[in-house]
Assembly symmetry: C2
Homo-oligomer: 80 residues x 2
């Protein structure tokens, strides 16, 4: 069993209204000095297998097919 | 300027229907051997300041007040 974490973030230049809203809310709560907030997603997966290289290739395919929209999002994979 | 990443994940034992749906969808796409998927959130922030300790304390307060629901979610902070 292999545990992996996939992090999906918006590409630079892609508008992030959710991040902007959080930035505004932090300011309203009195947290000054926050310049930019961008929100992304994280997926924690448990997968069968022992070969980390094979599992990484499979995770890459999962990201391209389902977990990330590669037109506007980047993804990174880290395997424990 | 300090860059930080806050990762918010559901606590163990908290139901994650979104993660279950992703797990089902991965199975339907032919990815076998995926045992568990849990989805969380990630926030990339840019903050004023040079004192990492102070910024970390501020980020902790942001998590407790806005970014995470500490009843059902854990958060972790990493500062570049």
């Amino acid at each position: 069993m292999i545990k992996a974490r996939v992090t999906v973030t918006l590409k630079n230049g892609v508008l992030d209204p959710q991040g902007k809203a959080i930035e505004g809310a932090l300011g309203a709560l009195g947290f000054d000095g926050v310049h930019q907030v961008r929100q992304g997603k994280v997926f924690d997966l448990e997968l069968d297998g022992a070969d980390k290289g094979k599992v990484e290739a499979e995770l890459k395919a999962m990201c391209e097919k389902l977990l990330a929209n590669t037109v506007i999002e980047n993804f990174s994979i880290s395997i424990d």
